[in-house]
């Protein structure tokens, strides 16, 4: 039952969501393979092997350098057909979602998305998908092949198996129509520190900060913890902080080890983006804020008092 994992990368690094899916797949099947598509991606094959891939297929071509979905659908569709993969897994991202859905249409394979777990029931692959704003979990399956899945970012952690993979170069050619969309300007990380979806620590701010200048308090604490800064939709809409930092239903879904929510009420829009964090610490002056229902440690208090002190404590700890 061969399985293929799309291994996404950015700036010469494989992405954690992809490696997490790969490690999970390696625990379910003995012969999990990975595919790398891009320009100068061959050196990443070793990382995919270490995360559990037995074989890494590499489509390495300068023409595939831009992270656009449609050329990747061409490469993957051919590989899946040639090798007879019956399962193709993705760690969700802007790019991976478009690739997965394009591939599903191309190969008429069922796609289940937003999965938070994968398991086998006998030979059947079963995915778990939260629904109705995560108030219920739905077990989903497939009735056609290839079975295609998008796993929610941050739900599966990479595990180094120390394995090595055999590497096979594959055809990197793409159809003309797939090349019609072109990248005029590619995104580069705009903020310092780790990308929010990859960050192990996130300090996030909401309306309770009072005014945009107070995001400095959040930034200082994030810096002291070596983490990234997150924001709620309300403050992004108000122009206090860039959309790229938005956590929630319309922003990023994150699952850092530590999430510190500052002046965030915990509206469902925000909750679905961060509730999978390992530990949630909330600081809010409103005792009735919903966030106090799903945090691990809640502090009812004035964040303008607490944040500078906490930042100082973290700095001295790091310095010690």
């Amino acid at each position: 039952m061969p399985t293929l994992v799309f291994t996404e990368h950015h700036d010469g690094e494989p992405l954690r969501p992809s490696l997490g899916v790969l490690s999970k797949a390696a625990t379910l099947w003995d012969d999990t393979a990975a595919v790398l598509v891009g320009s100068d991606v061959a050196p990443l094959a070793e990382r995919a092997g270490a995360a559990g891939a037995k074989t890494v297929y590499v489509a390495d071509d300068p023409a595939l350098g831009d992270p656009l979905p449609q050329p990747r659908v061409d490469v993957l569709a051919r590989l899946v057909a040639d090798k007879g993969f019956d399962t193709v897994l993705f760690g969700a991202s802007v790019l991976a979602s478009d690739v997965a859905a394009g591939l599903a249409a191309r190969l008429e394979g069922g796609l289940n998305w937003d999965l938070v777990d994968l398991r086998l029931d006998g030979d059947d692959l079963v995915g778990t998908r939260p629904a109705l704003q995560d108030t219920i979990h739905v077990d989903v399956g497939w009735s056609s092949t290839p079975q295609i899945a998008l796993v929610r970012s941050g739900t599966l952690e990479p595990v180094e198996t120390g394995g090595t993979a055999s590497v096979e170069e594959i055809d990197a050619s793409v159809d003309d129509w797939s090349r019609a969309a072109t990248m005029a300007e590619q995104a580069r990380a705009e903020s310092e520190g780790p990308s929010i979806e990859e960050a192990e620590v996130i300090v996030a701010g909401g309306r309770g900060l009072g005014k945009p200048e107070n995001f400095a308090l959040v930034e200082e604490l994030a810096k002291a913890l070596g983490g990234a800064v997150g924001a709620t939709r309300a403050v992004v809409d108000a122009g206090w902080y860039p959309y790229a930092s938005q956590v929630g239903q319309t922003g990023k879904t994150v699952s850092p080890k530590l999430y510190i929510a500052c002046g965030i009420s915990g509206a469902i829009q925000h909750k679905v983006g961060m509730q999978n964090a390992g530990t949630i610490v909330a600081i809010n002056k409103d005792r009735n804020a919903p966030i106090f229902d799903f945090c691990d440690l809640g502090v009812v208090g004035d964040l303008h008092e607490i944040l500078p002190k906490l930042t100082e404590l973290m700095r001295s700890r790091r310095g010690a």
């Binding site: 219920i136 739905v138 077990d139 056609s144």
Partner: protein, 258 residues
Amino acid sequence: MKVAVCVKEVPESSAPRRIDPTTLRLDRSGEGTLNPWDLSALEEGLRLVEAGGGEVVAVSMGPERAAASLRKALAMGADRAVLVADDAAAGADLVATSRVLAKALEREGADLVLFGQQGSDSDGAVLWAAVADRLRLPLISQAATLEIADGKATVRRQTEYGYDVIQAPLPCVVAVSDAINEPRYPSLKGIMGAKKKPQETIALGELGVPADEAGEAGSGTVVRELKQPPPRGETLVIEDDGSAAQRIADYLAEQKLV
């Protein structure tokens, strides 16, 4: 320019939502409304046509009663609406929905196909890529801005790393983010006028889609069972008495998070 905007009826957001334990599908028996995310796509289509001339057609798949929700698209300013309604189309997943929608869009032959960011019911945010693949049209998703000039779409779009600028020749498929605009409210005149606008309901047969390739029969995924999500652990809430920063620091150290 002809713009086709794909829209969907979803359960009214104020109504309690539930999954029918027998069918394992979302209970859609209550009030329906246009998917709020699709309003941004409609607004964008209307602005483009208002500026450059042409036609906006709302295209949807759903039960016959969804025609009432589509009237809102007409009230906002769309010129006409096409609804694919067929009992055999019910229970469709991504592959089945995209198959039907692609056929309906082929029939329209629009210069630009627009999608909203997601469905408020299923949180699905992938349909456009499946439809674009079936139509063999270039695709740009997550558009925060969209400009059409010289037969080309230019999109600024947000990713995990910042903003890409992507271009594609028309015809193409663009999925917009809700950050792209502020959708208008239908005017009274728009609401009155909507009743006179052409609204078409078509069956699968008219699109040449066999019943077994649509709906649940044509789907590639199944729902197996419903479960309760695992509960979170204990929550400790304290009032700040001046020592909260220290207590947070101690807690983080205890949890080995710093």
